[in-house]
C-alpha cells in the first residue's frame, strides 16, 4: 500500500531563555493510504508540535531544523510557500483538542465551515451555506439547519468538536490529523465522536493520524501505532502486535501502568494490589540525558544506553514485511544496528 505521508528524521526546536527545547528530535513515521496511525506518548513529548509541523506551521518560536516530509509523493519541505498553501486544508485537514480555541467567537459556526469552501472550492455563498448544513448533518449535529446560525459559545464541547471535524472535511482532505480530538470530552461523548471518525474514514476513504495519550482510544481506533518519547518515535507496530508484545521498555511500562476494567483490586492475600508505575518522570527537553533519552527510567538499561543513541530499526524477528515493526532500543539491536 502506498504511503500518503512519510516523515523522516524531523526535528523541530524552540530557542528559549532556558535553552533549546528539542520538542521533535529526529522523528520518523509513515501513514499508509486508508489506514489509521495512532500516535501515542505522554504530555510534552512533542506530538502536537510534530502535527503542526507537517504543514510547516510549528508554533512560534519553533523552527523546523531538519528532516523530510513527503505527502502524496510531494516533498513539502522544499515546496515554495505559495504552493504549500494548496495542501493546507485541501490535502491535510487538522482537528485539535480545544475546539473553542480554534474557532472564532464572533462568527457563526456555519460561516466558519463555509469559509474554506468559498476560498478553496470557489463556491458561491449560497452553495457554501448549503454544503455547510450538509456537512453538519454528516457529523451528526442534530437540527443542523438551525444550528448553522449558532455562535461557538452556544454549542457544547462535543458539538464544537463535530464542527471542527466538519471544517476539516469540507475540502475533502486525503489525510485527517486529529490531535487529541476527544481528550476534553466526557467518555460518553468521546465514544460517539470516535464512532463518527471511524465511519467518516470509511465513507470518505480518509487516512487518519490520530494523536492521543489514551491507549484505550488508540487500541480501538488505530491500525498501526507509533509510540513517541522525548521527541522521538521509539517503537512502531501494528496495533495488535504492539499491545500483545511491546518491544521497547517504555512501551512495556506504559501498557502496564494503564488501569484496566475488570482487574482485581486486591491480591489473593487480601492486600491492595499496587498499580505498576514507571519510576521517575518525563525528562526536561532542554536537558535531555545523553544516550537513550529513556535510560534514566529504564529497568533494562545497558551500558551503551548511557552513551549511544538508539535509532529506529526494523525488528527482523517479526517475520514477513521487514518494515512491519520497528523499535529504537539496544535490547533489540546493538549500536551498529545488528539485531541481537
Amino acid at each position: 500500500m502506498a504511503n500518503v505521508l512519510e516523515v523522516s528524521d524531523l526535528s523541530v526546536h524552540f530557542a528559549t531563555e532556558r535553552g533549546t527545547i528539542r520538542a521533535v528530535d529526529g522523528a520518523s513515521l509513515r501513514v499508509a493510504e486508508g489506514e489509521t496511525l495512532g500516535l501515542v506518548g505522554e504530555s510534552g513529548c512533542g506530538k502536537s508540535v510534530l502535527a503542526l509541523s507537517l504543514l510547516r506551521l510549528p508554533p512560534p518560536p519553533g523552527r523546523i531544523v531538519g528532516g523530510r516530509i513527503v505527502f502524496q509523493g510531494t516533498d513539502l519541505m522544499t515546496l515554495p510557500e505559495k504552493r504549500l498553501r494548496h495542501f493546507r486544508g485541501r490535502g491535510i485537514g487538522l482537528v485539535f483538542q480545544e475546539p473553542s480555541a480554534a474557532l472564532d467567537p464572533v462568527f457563526t459556526v456555519g460561516s466558519q465551515i463555509a469559509e474554506g469552501l468559498i476560498v478553496h472550492k470557489m463556491m458561491s455563498r449560497a452553495e457554501a451555506r448549503a454544503e455547510a448544513v450538509r456537512l453538519m448533518n454528516v457529523v451528526r449535529i442534530p437540527d443542523a439547519g438551525r444550528r448553522v446560525h449558532d455562535y461557538p459559545h452556544q454549542l457544547s464541547g462535543g458539538m464544537l468538536q463535530r464542527v471542527m471535524i466538519a471544517i476539516a472535511l469540507a475540502c475533502r482532505p486525503a489525510l485527517l490529523v486529529a490531535d487529541e480530538p476527544t481528550t476534553a470530552l466526557d467518555v460518553t461523548i468521546q465514544a460517539d465522536i470516535l464512532d463518527l471518525l471511524r465511519q467518516l474514514k470509511d465513507e470518505y476513504r480518509l487516512s487518519l493520524l490520530l494523536i492521543s495519550h489514551n491507549l484505550g482510544v488508540v487500541a480501538e481506533t488505530a491500525d498501526r501505532v507509533a509510540v513517541m518519547y522525548a521527541g522521538r518515535i521509539v517503537e512502531e507496530a501494528p496495533v495488535r502486535d504492539l499491545f500483545a508484545a511491546p518491544k521497547h521498555p517504555y512501551t512495556e511500562g506504559l501498557l502496564r501502568s494503564v488501569p484496566r476494567l475488570g482487574e482485581p483490586a486486591r491480591s489473593s492475600d487480601g492486600g491492595r494490589r499496587r498499580l505498576p508505575a514507571i519510576e521517575g518522570s518525563v525528562p526536561d527537553l532542554t536537558r535531555l540525558p545523553g544516550g537513550c533519552s529513556f535510560h534514566p527510567r529504564c529497568p533494562d538499561v545497558l551500558s551503551e544506553c548511557r552513551t549511544r543513541d538508539p535509532r529506529l530499526r526494523p525488528l527482523t524477528a517479526a517475520g514477513g514485511d521487514p518494515a512491519a515493526r520497528q523499535v529504537a532500543c539496544f535490547k533489540h539491536h546493538d549500536p551498529d544496528g545488528r539485531p541481537r
Binding site: E42, S156, E220, F243, L254, L261, A265, R274, A277, E279
Partner: protein, 336 residues
C-alpha cells in the same frame, strides 16, 4: 444506605447547591443552576467512596459544600456526629484538621511564591503542631520523604517540579495533620498514566497506614475500580446509583452507569466492544429535564420516564438505584 453496625464518619443528607443566574443591569436573578440537587451519601472510617459522573454533574460543587469551601443552599453535613453547617469559624477551623482536600490541578493549587517546605508546613503552623518551628520542619521533612521526595525539595518552588511531583507535594500537605477524611477532587486526572500510578499507590499506602477515608472524585472508572470500596454515580446534580465496587462494576443497574462503563475505551485491540452509544448532550443543570433527568439520553426510556422522577431505592442490600426499570425496593426502603 449504610452497612449496619458501623457509624459513618461523614453523613451528607439531601445536600443542595443552587447558583443564581443573573441577567441584566439590575442583576436580577433569572434562574438557578441546580448544580447539586439532593445528594445523600455516607462515608465510613477508612473507606474510599468514589464519586463519578460526567463533567458538570456537580461532583466538585458537592465536595466543596461538604468542606464548607462554599455554603450549601440546603441539606445537612455531619462529621463524626457534629453538624458541620452549624459550626462557627473557630470551630470549623478546628474541625478542618480532620478534613483535608487534594485538588485536581497540581499547577494551580500550590502557591507559586511559596517554597515547598512552607507549603507543606503551613497546616502544622496553623494548628500549632509540635513545640517549635524546628520540630515542624523535621515533620515536614518526614512528610516529604513519605511521599517520595527528597528533603532538599523544602527550599525549592513548585514550578521546579513535574506534575506528578507537585501532586505528591499536595498529598504531603493534605496528610500533615493526619486527617480522618480527605476529599480528593480528580487528583490524578491531569497526570500522565506512567505517573498516575505513583500517586494512586501513595494514596493507597497512606490509607493502610493511617486508616484515612477518601471521597475520591473521578471520571476514570478504570482507576475507580482499583481503589474504591463503594461508588456513587452522579448525573445532573443527583446520585443515580450507589453501591459496592463489585456491585457497580459487575451488576450496574442504572442505564447511565451501564453506558458510562461501556463507553470506556479498552486498551486491548483484540476485544470487540459492544457499546450502546448515548446520543444527545448532557442537558443543562439550569433546566434539568422533567421526570427522570436521564430520560433525554436514555437508551431504554419508556412511558413514565418523561413525567415521573424515579426515587433512589435500595434494590439489594447496600445497592441503590434511581430508575423506573429497576425492580422495587427490597425492604421497601426508599429515600425521598
Amino acid at each position: 444506605m449504610s452497612p449496619p453496625g458501623r457509624q459513618p464518619l461523614l453523613e451528607v443528607r439531601d445536600l443542595r447547591k443552587h447558583f443564581p443566574i443573573r441577567r441584566g443591569l439590575l442583576s436580577r436573578v433569572s434562574g438557578w443552576v441546580r448544580a447539586v440537587d439532593g445528594v445523600s451519601i455516607d462515608i465510613f472510617p477508612g473507606e474510599t467512596l468514589a464519586l463519578v459522573g460526567e463533567s458538570g454533574s456537580g461532583k466538585t460543587t458537592a465536595g466543596r459544600c461538604i468542606l464548607r469551601l462554599m455554603e450549601p443552599t440546603a441539606g445537612a453535613v455531619r462529621f463524626d456526629g457534629q453538624d458541620l453547617l452549624a459550626l462557627g469559624p473557630r470551630d470549623l477551623r478546628r474541625m478542618r484538621r480532620h478534613l483535608q482536600v487534594i485538588f485536581q490541578d497540581p499547577y494551580a493549587s500550590l502557591n507559586p511564591r511559596m517554597r515547598v517546605g512552607t507549603i507543606v508546613r503551613e497546616p502544622l503552623d496553623i494548628h500549632r503542631v509540635g513545640r517549635n518551628r524546628a520540630e515542624r520542619d523535621a515533620m515536614t521533612r518526614g512528610l516529604l520523604e513519605r511521599v517520595g521526595l527528597d528533603a532538599s525539595a523544602m527550599r525549592r518552588y513548585p514550578h521546579e517540579f513535574s506534575g506528578g511531583q507537585r501532586q505528591r507535594i499536595g498529598v504531603a500537605r493534605a496528610i500533615a495533620l493526619r486527617p480522618r477524611l480527605i476529599i480528593a477532587d480528580e487528583p490524578v486526572s491531569s497526570l500522565d498514566v506512567s505517573v498516575q500510578a505513583q500517586v494512586i499507590n501513595l494514596m493507597l499506602d497512606l490509607q493502610e497506614e493511617y486508616g484515612v477515608a477518601y471521597l475520591f472524585i473521578a471520571h476514570d472508572l478504570a482507576v475507580v475500580e482499583r481503589i474504591a470500596d463503594r461508588v456513587a454515580v452522579m448525573y445532573l446534580g443527583r446520585i443515580v446509583e450507589l453501591g459496592t465496587r463489585q456491585e457497580i462494576f459487575k451488576n450496574p443497574l442504572h442505564p447511565y452507569t451501564r453506558a458510562l462503563l461501556q463507553a470506556i475505551p479498552i486498551p486491548d485491540p483484540t476485544r470487540a466492544r459492544e457499546r450502546t452509544v448515548l446520543r444527545g448532550e448532557l442537558p443543562s443543570p439550569a433546566a434539568p429535564p422533567p421526570g427522570c433527568r436521564f430520560h433525554t439520553r436514555c437508551p431504554v426510556v419508556f412511558e413514565p420516564c418523561a413525567t415521573l422522577d424515579p426515587p433512589l431505592v435500595e434494590v439489594a442490600p447496600g445497592h441503590w438505584a434511581a430508575c423506573h426499570l429497576v425492580p422495587g425496593p427490597a425492604g421497601g426502603a426508599s429515600r425521598p
